[in-house]
């Protein structure tokens, strides 16, 4: 496994996330039916299909990571709508700013990219830990990524740790009362259901690990 992540691998990440939301679309919508409005799966399928359409030529033209991620962010912002559109859109727009002109990223740059993205989500949505949102999968995921790097694991190992932690974070949303997003309208009735955005975010980090493994 090389320590440097190419733009092509980032495209694989997106492609792998697209496949995941197609596969898990019905599940994501079912989660959203229980405590939301039954569209999270359709939203992400529409968005990631648009993304993969928009970045189709990207690998051969060898743009920068920043160019790629900015295009991803703008495409999500302009094709998804709802809460997840601006949130995932801002994630990638901020990630783009963090990576800038780079055409390959080392492990620290990948972490910086993810952190910038999460900060964008927080800036946009004001979610805090325990509000039962995508934050509750992403934040522990990124913490695990950082810890893994600190303890000497490579970028793939870190991404795998992140995906595992995000999955745990996703599951840990189940007993929570939602305080943000439309699940919050349910009050106590939001308890006992996994947050759909946390579930899709766990898929996003799992897709990263998968893409890195394949690149390995």
């Amino acid at each position: 496994m090389t320590e440097s992540v190419s733009v092509a691998t980032l495209v694989d990440w997106l492609s792998s996330f697209r496949d995941a939301v197609h596969e898990q679309g019905t599940y994501l919508t079912e989660l959203d039916s229980a405590i939301g409005d039954a569209d999270h799966g359709a939203n992400l399928i529409r968005g990631m299909d648009a993304v993969m359409g928009a970045v189709a030529g990207e690998v051969s033209t060898v743009g920068s990571a920043g160019d790629l991620l900015k295009k991803v962010g703008m495409t999500l912002v302009t094709s998804v709508g709802g809460a997840s559109g601006p949130l995932y859109g801002t994630f990638f727009l901020r990630a783009a700013t963090a990576t800038g002109d780079a055409t390959s990223l080392d492990a620290a740059a990948v972490l910086a990219m993810l952190r910038a993205g999460l900060e964008g989500i927080v800036a946009r949505g004001k979610a805090e830990a325990g509000d039962k949102t995508m934050y509750d999968a992403l934040a522990p995921g990124l913490d695990a990524f950082a810890s893994a790097l600190e303890s000497g694991r490579d970028v793939l190992g870190a991404a795998e740790a992140a995906a595992d932690a995000a999955a745990d974070g996703r599951d840990a949303t189940e007993p929570l009362i939602a305080l943000k997003g439309r699940a919050s309208y349910l009050g106590e009735r939001s308890v006992g259901h996994i947050d759909p955005g946390a579930a899709s975010s766990a898929l996003l980090l799992r897709a990263l690990a998968d893409a890195l493994a394949a690149a390995g």
């Binding site: 409005d37 569209d39 939203n43 709508g81 601006p86 949130l87 439309r182």
Partner: protein
């Protein structure tokens, strides 16, 4: 799933085709999914834009026209439209007097309109102000949560503030009035059945024959609580009581809307309104204007919502002003 549609992913695009065929007085931008007046006023009017997920018709596209909105941005079913749609609409409708964005309080809608406002200001320098409606008493309010949902008051606001803008009031005055209307309105909804989101293909929730959902919004979400099915008189009480205990409507005229949620026929809406009227009268609320019908809906959900707006002579005058839209029309 039984619906008059082709493919679930084409619902919005196909429905907009029907809107433009049925309404020569509207212009539909099918690419950006924005509905405009075919003949915009030609100078200096503050422009009103609203928008949101589709599935709430006639809101908002059915309220574009003289005396109400200048444009409506249509999102996918139950999904806020995207900022680029709003930026496009904002640029098109601005006549130099600025643009008011009318946004229902949902995280998605608020964030998308927020991004649009930032982008419009940066790109074109159009002055954009925003009113966020949040009239749903079913939702406990708190600074820690997403706050109350914007529901029925949005319809009344678009009519009243639309009339004010048509009269030539400036953006500050229009913004001010819109905030006052929102502050003076309260709503509460209930559902007898779930709705079915086309892309989901099945009802969002199951509701047994002997149960109903109290405190639903307009996105097919389950309500605040599931309670035993009751008669119309009892349902009216469960809708009206929380409204009246949230705001004092005494001492002036009120405008009342009873809106169906899409799957309930008019005969039931009138029947329920009869019960609502009795309760409002008993509570001393002076109903000056009434609207009964489908105005803010939730796809094919069976159920209804009640909205009460504290009015005054000025608001009633604006309410009575001519309006010519697909969903609300008089005097023109």
């Amino acid at each position: 799933m039984k619906k008059l549609i082709n493919k679930p992913e084409d619902v919005l695009a196909d429905a907009l085709k029907g809107v433009s065929e049925a309404h020569p007085e509207l212009r539909v931008d099918h690419q950006h999914r924005v509905i405009y007046r075919a003949q915009p006023k030609d100078h200096g009017k503050v422009a009103l834009i609203s928008g949101g997920g589709s599935g709430h018709e006639p809101l908002h596209g059915g309220f574009v026209g003289v005396g109400m909105l200048d444009a409506a941005c249509c999102g996918e079913v139950f999904t806020s439209p995207t900022p680029d749609q709003m930026v496009e609409a904002t640029t098109v409708v601005d006549q130099g007097a600025g643009v008011l964005h009318i946004v229902k309080n949902y995280t998605g809608d608020v964030m998308n309109f927020e991004m649009a406002g930032e982008m419009a200001a940066a790109d074109s320098g159009v002055r954009v102000e925003t009113v966020v409606t949040d009239d749903d008493v079913a939702v406990q309010d708190s600074t820690w949560t997403a706050g109350r949902r914007g529901v029925g008051v949005t319809v009344l606001l678009e009519k009243i503030v639309g009339a004010a803008a048509e009269e030539g009031r400036d953006l500050d005055a229009v913004l001010d009035l819109s905030k006052r209307i929102n502050a003076q309105g309260r709503s509460m909804g209930m559902a007898l059945t779930s709705c079915t989101v086309p892309a989901a293909g099945k009802p969002t929730f199951d509701l047994p024959e002997d149960q109903m959902e109290m405190g639903v919004g307009i996105h097919g979400e389950p309500g605040r609580k599931r309670v035993p099915l009751a008669g119309a008189a009892e349902i009216a009480e469960q809708l009206v009581d929380p409204i009246l205990s949230d705001l004092d409507f005494q001492g002036g005229p009120s405008i009342v809307m009873l809106s169906g949620l899409g799957g309930t026929p008019l005969i039931e809406l009138y029947l329920l309104y009869g019960e609502v009227a009795v309760l409002l009268e008993k509570a001393g609320v002076q109903v000056a204007r009434t609207l009964v019908g489908d105005y803010i809906t939730s796809l094919d959900m069976a159920g209804a919502s009640v909205t009460v707006l504290k009015a005054d002579d000025e608001i009633l005058r604006l309410w009575d002003a001519p309006v010519k839209t697909a969903g609300l029309r008089w005097g023109l």
